[in-house]
């Protein structure tokens, strides 16, 4: 990802440039943390990495493919297959149970129902939610919700997991447990993880910490390798 610029409200008085030419690169299998205060542009960057938003300028190559020039539907398909999102506030869909939530990305990826179900069960068992397959989100605690969300992010076996403050809404003990799951995914399954946080301690656990201030990357520090 090179020279990314994101400007909002172009041409109007409230024109606001959030990202000022950001260069960002992640290797396959890397666990990168992005830290910065709120307003530093890290969420905007995550949205661009996650193909939810398009930059005003710059280039972005994902897995060798230029992903800025492709159609909305193709972007949706990339989101479904290559990227798994974990949000701060879980964003599980209410009224449907954990199993159905995990199945959802697979449904949009066009995987047959039977296969979806067995994979969803497998994933929920992996994150320790095998006992609560049929619970709806409002019957689950925060940590449990986030574990379901992680299972959902893994549904289509994506290359990249994008986690936007996944521990932000959790107490430290459950946050710890969620972090352990990320480490496990990184080490055992070789998933690339981009972890956005403002907690320096958690960031220090990752392979590399990227620091953002005012829409620029001011530092990239390798912690482990």
């Amino acid at each position: 990802m090179r020279n990314i610029v994101k400007t909002y409200n172009i041409g109007s008085e409230g024109e606001l440039t959030v990202l000022h030419g950001v260069d960002f690169h992640v290797d396959r299998g890397e666990f990168v943390s992005v830290v910065g205060t709120s307003g530093s542009g890290k969420s905007t960057m995550m949205n661009i990495i996650g193909l939810l938003d398009k930059p005003t300028d710059g280039t972005y190559t994902l897995d060798g493919v230029d992903v800025l020039d492709i159609s909305d539907d193709a972007l949706a398909s990339h989101r479904a297959k290559s990227i798994g999102f974990v949000f701060q506030n879980f964003n599980l869909i209410g009224r449907i149970d954990a199993l159905k939530n995990v199945e959802m990305p697979m449904m949009y990826a066009g995987i047959p129902a039977k296969q979806r179900r067995s994979r969803a069960v497998e994933l929920l068992e992996m994150v320790g939610m095998g006992e609560r397959l049929n619970h709806e989100p409002n019957e689950l605690s925060g940590g449990q919700k986030q574990r379901v969300a992680i299972a959902r992010a893994l549904a289509n076996d994506p290359e990249i997991i994008l986690a936007d403050e996944p521990t932000g809404a959790l107490d430290s003990a459950t946050g710890r447990m969620v972090m352990d799951i990320f480490h496990q995914l990184n080490k055992e399954q070789g998933k690339t993880i981009v972890f956005i946080t403002h907690n320096p301690e958690l960031a220090d656990e990752s392979d590399r910490v990227v620091t953002m201030v005012d829409g620029r990357i001011i530092g990239s520090e390798v912690k482990h390798s």
């Binding site: 398909s77 479904a80 999102f85 990305p105 449904m107 949009y108 990826a109 066009g110 289509n156």
Partner: protein, 421 residues
Amino acid sequence: MSLAESILLALTSLRSNKMRALLTLLGVIIGIASVIGILTIGKALQDQTLNSLESLGANDLSAQVEERPDEDSPEPDMFAFSGAANSSGNLIPEETVDTLRDRFAGSITGISVGGMGTQGTLIGDTADLKSDLLGVNEDYMWMNGVEMNYGRAITQDDVAAQRPVAVIAPDTFNTLFDANPNLALGSEVAFELNGQETFLRVIGVYKEAAAGGLVGSNPTVHTYTPYTVANDITHTEDGLNTLSIRAAQGVDQDSLKGSLQTYFDALYANNDSHHVAMLDFRKQIEEFNTILGAMSLGISAIGGISLLVGGIGVMNIMLVSVTERTREIGVRKALGARRRDIRLQFVVEAMIICFIGGILGVLLGGILGLIMSSAIGYISLPPLSGIVIALVFSMAIGLFFGYYPANKAAKLDPIDALRYE
């Protein structure tokens, strides 16, 4: 994402909001129910009226003696009998019936004579009964749908030989003969008119006509006798005022009407005051059908308006639903849903609301129609085509009014949707 999955998804979301779904359905239910109800009642009315018209011989051609119209007077009213000829010499001679039968052998299946009844009293051993005496010929009964329950009908021989025989009504049969066919058939019954009694031998009992008739449900008690006999009893001169002629199957009624008119014109060529007019009632039946159809259409249009209102209700609730679920839409998009997946989900949801509403509406309308039509006395089920059209139409309403909100949902920007609180 397949259609089946969209349907399941839509059902899940409807189930979670039952009350709202039901209230939304209500508009569609009322609309469909009123259309179906009206269609059912309209069909009952139409069936019933056509049936009674047909049993009155409305399909037949009628030859009627009339005064010749003045050159400058307006069209004669064909239902007015004011111009009917009563003096002898103007009436159609009885032998004309046989002549017509010979001449139009291939194109006529029946010529019925008779119609106007004369009210008198049937005198029994234990009871008396008011009855209309109808002088008829052998074709009258079958052409007017009168079926025999016991015994035989009046034959050509009875007419020619002026046999004093009678076919009696079920009421007469029950009142005077204790519903005993052995007692009735062959017995004599006295018909009293103006103090004079005539004895008629009972040869048959006709069947009660099927229920119905626009006017009154209590059928008149008829006593059928050969018209030659009836004319003697009522002191009516020989000769016929009106003939009903039934065309054979496949014969063009219009050209037959023309030929008959030509025949009668020739027959009355020397009569300065009277002629015979050929009439048929098909036009009236067609007009009646057109009026009824227009009425049904008009009332259905009112039903259609309530459907429209229902549809707007569906659109409104779908817009609310899209706004409420903005975040859900954002999550779905982040997880790989394409625009069309989102659009399909919401369109299907709207269509299911309308389809369920349509089914309930058909049921409700059918029940209403059944109740109303049985009140008319002619039970009718909603026409199948109406049910199908109503269901298809209700789904079309779902599609039409669901598309805009669904498209709005599909076009949401995932980031904005995710940020929505």
